[in-house]
Symmetry: none
Subunit: 194 residues, 4 copies
DNA sequence: GATGAATGAGGCTTCATTCAT
DNA sequence: TATGAATGAAGCCTCATTCAT
């Protein structure tokens, strides 16, 4: 029982990863169940053994991606370092996510256009959870005088917006390595909060 | 002849504006020719008198929007004011665009997903033209010592990314007026370049 | 305008008649849009120009059939003849309907399995309207002493049930002509109400 | 061998009863192998160990139900009572069948729509067998002067038709108990044959 | 015997596109 | 110019059926 359940879960994840890839290339509407299945050498009918429908599949893509991101930020937040250090690490983490898992990351951007409320709410909640780790660090930083800003939420959105845009231009094997990008963004974005 | 051509042009623009509206509400795939036509009290068949196909129509939407943006930036660039002033004005202009013409603006973000090369190239070119006005101001500012940064291109992308993200959260009739948003962003984004 | 509307209506009726035929042969679930269209040398896509979806098409089939039947009964009811005469005529009318328009008639039998409440209610209402013409004649007949029964509703259902069953065995070009069937049923069914 | 065969038979019957239930609720096309299996806490794959395919399973449902009905009528026919008494008992039996085993009964009505000739013929034969018990009683009744009719077959069909229709309106827990319905139908239907 | 998994055919529906009028 | 009508490709989804384990 345990074994077969694990197998099931594994297969589901495989499908999700395939879906994430296609959705990123073509967008939600552009991605077809056929193509998602073909990527795994399955037939589209099989997908419905694992997921209720397309919306459900895409929903689970979001959940997977967001949960990963949230866990990572949580770890950073709980370390015993300055808020400036934490924010820098979060920025690095977010950038790495946005670049390395570009495909998955893109999905988080506009869930409203894709989901109905039953599935939209959990996603928005997770999104908030993700953002709130940034908020908490910034807030703490302001409290202890490390950061000097008034508009907490908007600053957070400036940071995230700036970083999310990286996907638009970053090319792996391009002239900048990911570590360089992280460093440059850390430098300029920290100027915003100080 | 001249007259009828003008009429044609006018009708085309009407259709483009309608298309822009629908495309933003529903996305490229979600927008249907039917709906675009209905907005103008036409039937979808008629659209094909003015545009070769859907892709062509959407392409012309891009052109219209980008040309407007470019013209505005050009005017700002040619004024006799400091580069700091210019950059602030460009930021305000871009934000207003992103909020008020949210519909049209979204389309510019990922043209690769929508167009094939014949139409993609002109769009990418105009996008570059648009960005380059920001680049020039920043470059000039650095030259005369108003700005103190090394990574010109990346800074420009940080600015644009931060601003483009506004669409994700800004709600008209929300708690912030557009002028407030412009002011706040001016304040924090100028910290990046200094 | 008037002309084109009439054409539209005519086409709709053509489609309905085709649908009625197929549905009768195969049942609601068994009837496919493809087949309904093929019967008219159309493609299934075209059907959606005239009807919102399959349920809508089938719904309109019901409406058409029921309205015809109701109109006929109404005319009979308003004639200046005895209730016995009226009931006989109604029986003859119902039988002719059940035989000649066998296909259409069958659809009325189990609408609950096919429709959701939005469309089910109008149908049930029309069905009641149809039945009520029988009820009224029987009631009047009882009042004036022509008929001698207590269970009005059940008697009506005995009559309708007996007649609806004709479809199960009647074969055109069989040994009985429709007029003979009408006569025989009149004879035996009138024994029920006396 | 004998034991395992009995087990097999028992399991088959269980499945048939489950199928009968689902088919009545959803109709032939609406009933899915999945649902039939779920009712028995099995998986649909297992059904194919007991039945060749869906048509076969449904076929056996018919056989089971018809055999029951036939046996009951046979017993009535062989009792030492008047033909009037016999017919009344058959009416009561048929009505109880139509109401209590509504599920199964419905399936008998239109076998032509469901089966192909290999399975259709046995079913039609059993149906005839069932009807013939009615015919025999009526015939005997006419011979000995209890009944006074000419059109034997049609009268039988009037009776069966009237009774089969009960399913359309009878509601368990409604205002009439099954015994009342039986009594009322006995009363009015006997008027037909006298 | 039973099942988890996969398949593929077929059904409903949407929509860009075409074309005669 | 405009439109009503039709088309066909493509997408989502269901489900009977199969089969290795």
């Amino acid at each position: 029982m345990k074994l077969s359940e694990k197998k099931l879960q594994k297969k589901k994840e495989e499908i999700i990863l395939s879906a994430v890839k296609i959705v990123n290339e073509k967008g939600y509407q552009g991605a077809t169940m056929e193509e998602i299945a073909a990527e795994l050498l399955m037939t589209k009918g099989s997908l419905y053994y694992y997921f209720k429908n397309k919306e459900d599949l895409i929903f689970q893509c979001h959940v997977l991606v967001l949960d990963q991101g949230i866990k990572e930020l949580e770890v950073i937040f709980n370390r015993e370092i300055s808020n400036e250090q934490k924010l820098k690490l979060m920025i690095a983490s977010h950038i790495r996510f946005a670049i390395e898992k570009k495909e998955t990351f893109n999905m988080i951007i506009k869930p409203e256009k894709t989901f109905h409320s039953e599935q939209l709410n959990p996603i928005l909640q997770k999104r908030n959870e993700y953002s709130s780790w940034f908020d908490q660090v910034i807030e703490e930083g302001v409290k202890v005088g490390e950061f000097k800003i008034k508009e907490l939420k908007i600053v957070r959105m400036i940071l995230l917006g700036a970083m999310n845009w990286i996907q638009q231009w970053y090319k792996p094997n391009g002239e900048k390595k990911i570590e360089e990008v992280q460093e440059i963004y850390e430098e300029y974005l920290m100027k915003v909060v100080k």
